[in-house]
């Protein structure tokens, strides 16, 4: 992880175009979101396709606090995270209590996100309805004020911020080693886990809450970075799906899976849109869809499982005289 952070810090100093930096920020953003998603949905195996609800709750909370009370987003994001945790508890507790698993949990999560989406539109007096809200633009002269308001003119500071978030996210996941093991055990066999003294509901709820908290913080970053949110983009199905996609394609239930997925998918979508989006409408998303399907069929455990597969292949090949090169796979 240290090496990784170092590499990404080096990238910071490379003379990149603004857009390349923008893609890096987006990539790290999704790597962070995927990591948050992964905690509950990957390790504990409760597939949520409604995590955008928590992103939205976090984003709107910190934005409302900022625009009405000029509260710094740093505190706002904590507040947003806490509100998201409360919302998560409302759904997670009954879900786990009533043992909702499999597609039922997924559908419940979609329903929750839809409800949040509709309520954001309906509460237009507070949230601006479907037009969304803009972040009040504070022109700052000092770095300190920029930092307090988490508003910068260039991309670089955002890059550092999201790099930090992502690192913290990874670190939190990494540090939660015990809980991770518990969650995996619960995913694999709930009864067996309980018999070993693992509190199923407690651990699930911990995972769900941290997960919600993390993506809610991501929501605040989203606000500060795009300076504009609306229910469609922040509580919509696309965002939920994207979080799941980076994690699943990368390898859900692994520490680096979501990051790997984000580093593959996000630049890819951007590049596809950049090169093909203006030519034939729809071609880029068409290809993206095909890629997803192919990826899932051939790497059902995600890209993170690739080294294992290669190793297994190699082990088999080593028994035979010819030794195949395994580098060409990526």
């Amino acid at each position: 992880m240290g090496i990784l952070a170092l590499v990404l810090l080096v990238v910071y100093f490379l003379p990149l175009t603004v857009f390349a930096r923008h893609i890096l920020v987006l990539t790290l953003f999704y790597a962070f979101m995927g990591t948050g998603w992964n905690l509950m949905c990957g390790y504990a195996g409760r597939l949520s396709l409604g995590h955008a609800a928590f992103v939205a709750v976090g984003a709107y909370t910190s934005l409302l606090l900022f625009s009405h009370f000029s509260l710094t987003p740093w505190i706002g994001m904590i507040a947003g995270g806490l509100v998201a945790v409360v919302v998560m508890m409302l759904i997670a507790y009954p879900s786990f209590r009533f043992g909702l698993i499999g597609p039922y949990f997924t559908l419940a999560s979609i329903a929750v996100a839809e409800i949040v989406h509709y309520l954001l539109i309906y509460g237009r007096d507070l949230t601006g309805g479907s037009l969304g809200m803009s972040l009040p633009y504070v022109k700052e002269t000092t770095i300190i004020n920029s930092l307090i308001n988490l508003q910068f003119d260039g991309k670089e500071p955002y890059y550092l911020v999201i790099l930090g978030f992502w690192l913290v996210g990874l670190l939190v996941t990494w540090k939660m080693e015990r809980t991770r093991y518990y969650l995996e055990a619960i995913r694999e066999d709930q009864d067996a886990a309980a018999a070993l003294g693992i509190s199923v509901n407690k651990n699930l709820i911990i995972a769900a809450c941290i997960s919600a908290f993390m993506v809610a913080i991501g929501g605040t970053f989203y606000v500060q970075y795009f300076r504009y949110i609306d229910p469609y983009s922040i509580a919509g199905f696309t965002l939920s799906l994207n979080m799941a996609l980076v994690a699943v394609i990368g390898g859900s239930g692994t520490l680096f899976g979501p990051t790997i997925g984000a580093f593959l998918l996000i630049p890819l979508t951007e590049i596809l849109r950049m090169t093909l989006g203006a030519q034939i409408p729809g071609l880029h998303l068409f290809l993206y869809g095909i890629l997803l399907v192919v990826c899932i069929i051939f790497l059902p455990k995600g890209i993170a499982s690739l080294p294992g597969i290669i190793r297994a292949k190699k082990a088999k090949n080593d028994q035979k005289p010819e030794n195949q090169a395994s580098k060409g796979v990526l």
Binding site: Y181, A185, A192, G197, S199
Partner: protein
């Protein structure tokens, strides 16, 4: 008289209309091996499920060291010191054997590293040390049994509830297992549900016989072997259970 560590009093449990456990009472004494026998469907596993909190009891009480434990969740009961194995072994299929054991060590370990340190030791006890990196899903039934026992041991329980751990073992292995259980008896109390008569008669300090959800006999192995009700209900049907 030995010190009573677990008291089961008048527990009843029914599923739908079927009375799975009907007014069963017995005590477990500290440091003993208590055998529970009975034909298939007699309610042996149900008793385990009730003690460990997987099913709520309909009536009656379960007391462990002066503390009522009926109504507690399985994980809390495990924390108090009662761990069970499952008749149909439940490995975590997606985890390696080492991780399976690690997960079991964790709840009672202060640090993850402590738990990790304990894994090898447990693996050796159940002779799975050579399979540490194999996934739980890829085990044979026999290995699953061993893993099941290993996981239960890893929680370091005071009372160990073993549900048919002998099944599937060869005579030599059975002897080893019996030695192991006798060894465990030095530090733990063991309740064992078993089919293999040779084992149960050899190893148990006391035996309880269940039939159709009711306790029909209780006593020393010798007494049980001579008990008419037991012979009629269980042993006397011409065929003994193989394993």
């Amino acid at each position: 008289m030995a010190e009573k560590i677990l008291a089961i009093e008048n527990i009843c449990k029914s599923f739908g209309g079927l009375l799975a456990t009907n007014d069963v009472s017995f005590n477990v004494n500290k440091g003993e091996i208590l055998g529970i026998i009975g034909p298939n469907g007699a309610g042996k596993s149900t008793v385990f499920n009730l003690i460990t909190g997987f099913y709520p009891i309909d009536s009656g009480s379960i007391t462990y060291k002066d503390q009522r434990i009926d109504g507690l969740t399985p994980d809390k009961i495990c924390h108090l010191g009662i761990t069970r194995t499952f008749q149909v072994a439940k490995p975590f299929p997606g985890l390696t054997i080492a991780d399976n054991i690690l997960v079991a060590c964790l709840p009672k370990a202060a640090k993850v590293s402590d738990a990790r340190a304990k894994v090898d030791e447990v693996l050796k006890i159940v002779s799975l040390d050579k399979k540490a990196d194999v996934l739980g899903a890829d085990l044979t039934t026999l290995e699953r049994k061993r893993l099941e026992l290993g996981k239960a041991l890893a929680t370091n329980p005071e009372i160990l509830l073993l549900d048919e751990v002998m099944t599937g073992l060869k005579p030599k292995e059975m002897d080893d297992m019996m030695d192991l259980i006798r060894e465990l008896k030095k530090t733990k109390t063991i309740v064992i549900v078993e089919h293999v008569m040779r084992v149960i008669m050899n190893i148990s300090d006391r035996i309880i016989v269940l039939d159709h959800g009711q306790k029909i006999a209780e006593g020393l192995p010798k007494e049980i072997a001579e008990n008419n009700a037991v012979i009629e209900a269980y042993l006397g049907r011409g065929a003994k259970k193989d394993a």
